[in-house]
């Protein structure tokens, strides 16, 4: 991999909330055409890291670059290439799906004709055509999630950051998301996703980073991760081994 192909780069990235260190000197790189899985237990610092990548949180120290643009010193350039799907799909409830997508297209200063074409494409892709003129407060969680993903794809970003993208989606929609992410990676985008569903991460991601208590404790492809742990086969074994959850299996067995 060459230096030019790095689309997300963090270097000693840290975030403190008061005295609490949420993210501690995290460093990793995500390359063009790669799907990078970001795993960790609840409260490990995944969402905080993601929010710093997309410019929603200012780091306390360290650096984060997106497509070569420093998110702190060149925020507009970095944000222009980013697409972001948050863990909770908070969308303006009084806008319709179509209005929201148009709004997002305009925020990214997209050409008007391109906006209209893209809206039609995405609504069709996510099976939202019939609901496109309903206000979002009438949508189910899954529909909101799909609308949020459609909004992130509006400007065809070269970096896509997704925080728990498959939560609340039916199997058909979850499969669609996975296919879209693969397509985007094949077209040269970098996909960064956090998930708790380890099977998805294992099957989809080219490389995986594991964060625990604010620190990246392992990073690499499945082979490299296996060498980090105690030699367990599945990602679940590796994850539990690294984050210290393996002992719960014995307790569960006793309770059962």
């Amino acid at each position: 991999m060459t230096e030019k192909s790095i689309l997300i780069e963090t270097e000693r990235l840290s975030k403190k909330f008061g005295d609490k260190i949420a993210v501690n000197e995290v460093s990793f790189q995500v390359f063009r055409g790669e799907i990078f899985g970001f795993l960790g237990p609840n409260g490990a610092g995944k969402t905080t890291t993601i929010k710093m990548i997309v410019g929603l949180l200012q780091p306390t120290s360290g650096m984060v670059k997106v497509a070569g643009f420093d998110v702190q010193s060149q925020p507009l350039l970095a944000k222009a290439v980013n697409g972001y799907v948050p863990d909770t799909p908070n969308l303006y409830p009084k806008l319709t799906g179509r209005e929201l997508l148009r709004f997002v297209g305009d925020l990214y200063e997209m050409d008007r004709h391109q906006v209209n074409r893209r809206i039609d494409e995405l609504l069709k892709l996510f099976d939202l055509v019939n609901a496109s003129d309903d206000t979002i407060d009438s949508y189910s969680h899954g529909m909101k999630q799909k609308t949020a993903i459609a909004a992130a794809l509006m400007h065809d970003p070269s970096v896509l950051v997704l925080d728990e993208p498959t939560v609340g989606l039916d199997p058909k929609s979850a499969r669609l998301i996975k296919d879209i992410l693969h397509q985007m990676a094949n077209r040269g985008a970098a996909v960064f996703l956090s998930t708790h569903i380890l099977e998805i991460a294992e099957r989809m991601c080219d490389r995986i980073g594991i964060i625990n208590e604010g620190e990246v404790i392992a990073i690499g492809n499945m082979e490299e991760l296996r060498s980090c742990g105690s030699g367990g086969g599945s990602l679940e074994d590796i994850f539990l081994d690294l984050t210290g959850g393996a002992e719960y299996a014995e307790i569960a067995e006793v309770l059962g």
Partner: protein
């Protein structure tokens, strides 16, 4: 086996023990909330409690005065025969209690049954479903029932004491008030379920919020329009006799009141009959309502949708939908991202009815104060015709400038909602704008336009209407329009900047987005700015008139001085808060 025994014990758990348990849970949440609250909130609640206790004391003092009034000849002068009015008092209180609980518990029950989100949890718990409903109804009526007791009891007890009623009258008052409140809550729960079957709960809550807001504004301001000083004796007498008409034998509301008076006066047979009938009727209504509500809710007849209906919004072609704003964007006057935020804000403000009650407030205020202003003449008195012409002209002009005050007041009230909460109104959706490639300057510009455009149009509208009604000279009208344009810009800049400092993104109900002390600060600064700017705008023209210098130069001087202040207040605070924009919603 153990599980089966436990299940049997649970299913046979006494109803009222479960009700007490649920109410105790609510009390624990309430106390916990108070303990964890910020010191300022705790102090606020303590002050509120002191105010309520003061009101209680005032009501007792009021009832003492009432006792004196009842026995005074003044009442006889108005009502003729006070006995008819006196025997109507319990009927009026009971009717008011029933109507009050029926209306107020509607919103509370809607919230408790459909929007609180704990019904699924409670219904899946090993608690009798009836206990859940009873506790929800009690939660809905207790606060308002407390208020009714606060005002109603001293009145009814005062009546009993003054008329020397039988001792049994006093406990029966509380008993009857309680069963009436329960019956009203029962009917209210059915009403909620009927309406929610047709309309989604959240939409009903929005409409209710709008109606409540409008009614409270109209009630609070009706005293400004009403002319209480000119009430004639005949009008007062008619009003009081109208009250007595509520006491009809055919009205079920009257039976309880009549029964109480009868018991109080020792007419045992008729009194017991009427009270028993009322009691049985109220309990019957409550039990039937409770059973029906349970069945409707449990069988899903009422639907459990809490969102809004899937109402199609009329789809326009982008060009038509965006109208003039789109024109500005296509001609590169404004970037599309700014136009997008402006458009989005207007749509959201318009579609969420909970915003409308706040947006209509300035209009109601404006109309009321404009009517008051015009009713008082709004023009300089002619006097004896001995004042010099220049003085009369200057005085006339000054009165016309009063119109500016009204229109700026209206605009300011509007801005305090739209500009001050410009950022807060984004709520949990702010991430969409924050993660987009928009500079803080662009976001501020968009939010400025959202506040400035409608507030200026509103101000202009008032100026034009009042000036036309007063036949104001065209020069003064033009000057006033310019002053409004500049002052509204200053007010928008000021309110928007302070809104950035006090931005609150964590809210569910738009009426609660502006909390904290920044709102008070915003009002204070706005008033200071308005006084200063109006002085700079109007004192030079007045002085030039006074010294009989050129009126035009006076106006230009005023515009220069006032305009400079407005420009400064528009841009300096916005510049100061610009660097805060990327840090918003960090926590």
């Amino acid at each position: 086996m153990i599980a089966m025994i436990q299940q049997r014990q649970i299913s046979s758990a006494p109803l009222w023990r479960s009700v007490v348990k649920l109410l105790r849970l609510r009390l624990v949440i309430l106390i916990g909330g108070f303990r964890r609250a910020k010191l300022s909130r705790k102090l606020g609640l303590i002050i509120l409690a002191i105010i309520i206790l003061s009101v209680l004391a005032l009501v007792f003092i009021g009832s003492w005065f009432l006792l004196r009034f009842i026995s005074s000849p003044d009442l006889f002068q108005y009502v003729g025969n006070p006995t008819v009015f006196l025997t109507s008092v319990p009927v009026i209180v009971f009717t008011a209690t029933f109507a009050g609980i029926l209306l107020t518990s509607f919103g509370l029950l809607l919230q408790a049954l459909y929007l609180a989100g704990d019904m699924d949890f409670l219904l899946s718990a090993p608690v009798p479903i009836r206990a859940v409903f009873i506790s929800k109804m009690l939660q809905a009526i207790l606060p308002n029932f407390g208020l009714i007791l606060l005002f109603g009891l001293p009145l009814l007890y005062g009546l009993g004491a003054s008329e020397g009623y039988n001792l049994l009258y006093f406990p029966l008052v509380i008993l009857l008030l309680s069963v009436m409140a329960l019956a009203a809550a029962g009917l209210s729960s059915l009403l909620v379920m009927l309406i929610v079957r047709v309309f989604p709960a959240r939409r009903v809550a929005e409409v209710l919020g709008l109606l409540a807001g409008l009614i409270s504004i109209l009630c609070s301001q009706s005293g400004q329009i009403a002319n209480w000083t000119d009430v004639s004796q005949q009008q007062a007498s008619q009003a009081l006799q109208l009250v007595s008409r509520v006491n009809s034998l055919w009205s079920p509301f009257a039976w309880g009141g009549r029964g109480l008076v009868a018991i109080g006066e020792g007419r045992w047979l008729s009194g017991t009959g009427l009270i028993f009938t009322t009691f049985a009727l109220a309990i019957g209504i409550f039990l039937i309502s409770l059973q029906t509500a349970e069945r409707w809710y449990f069988t899903g007849w009422v639907g459990l949708q809490t969102g809004t209906t899937k109402k199609k919004v009329r789809s326009h072609s982008p060009e038509v939908a965006n109208g003039g704003l789109r024109y500005l964007s296509s001609h590169h006057f404004l970037p599309a991202s700014i136009i997008a935020i402006v458009q989005k804000d207007f749509i959201v403000l318009r579609r969420d009815l909970r915003n409308m009650s706040q947006l209509i407030t300035p209009l109601v205020f404006g109309v009321i104060y404009a009517v008051l202003f015009l009713r008082s003449g709004g023009q300089a008195p002619e006097g004896r015709g001995q004042a010099p012409a220049w003085f009369m002209e200057a005085f006339d002009n000054l009165m016309v400038y009063g119109n500016v005050g009204i229109s700026l007041f209206v605009s300011w009230t509007f801005l305090s909602r739209v500009a001050f909460t410009g950022f807060s109104q984004e709520g949990h959706n702010y991430w969409i704008i924050k993660s987009a490639p928009m500079s803080p300057g662009k976001i501020l510009t968009a939010k400025f336009i959202v506040g400035y455009l409608p507030a200026t149009l509103l101000g202009w509208g008032f100026i034009l209407i009042i000036s036309l009604l007063q036949h104001a000279p065209i020069g003064i009208l033009a000057y006033s329009l310019l002053v409004v344009t500049l002052c509204v810009a200053g007010l928008t800049g000021l309110n928007l900047s302070l809104g950035v400092n006090g931005a609150n993104f964590d809210w569910q109900d738009p009426r609660r987005m502006a909390q904290g002390g920044t709102g008070c600060l915003s009002s204070l600064f706005s008033i200071i700015f308005l006084i200063l700017s109006l002085a700079l705008f109007f004192v030079p023209p007045f002085l030039f008139d006074f010294f009989q210098w050129s009126g035009l130069i006076g106006k230009i001087t005023g515009l220069t001085l006032g305009g400079a202040l407005c420009f400064a207040v528009t841009f300096i605070p916005l510049r100061l808060v610009r660097d805060r924009i990327p840090l918003l919603d960090e926590n």
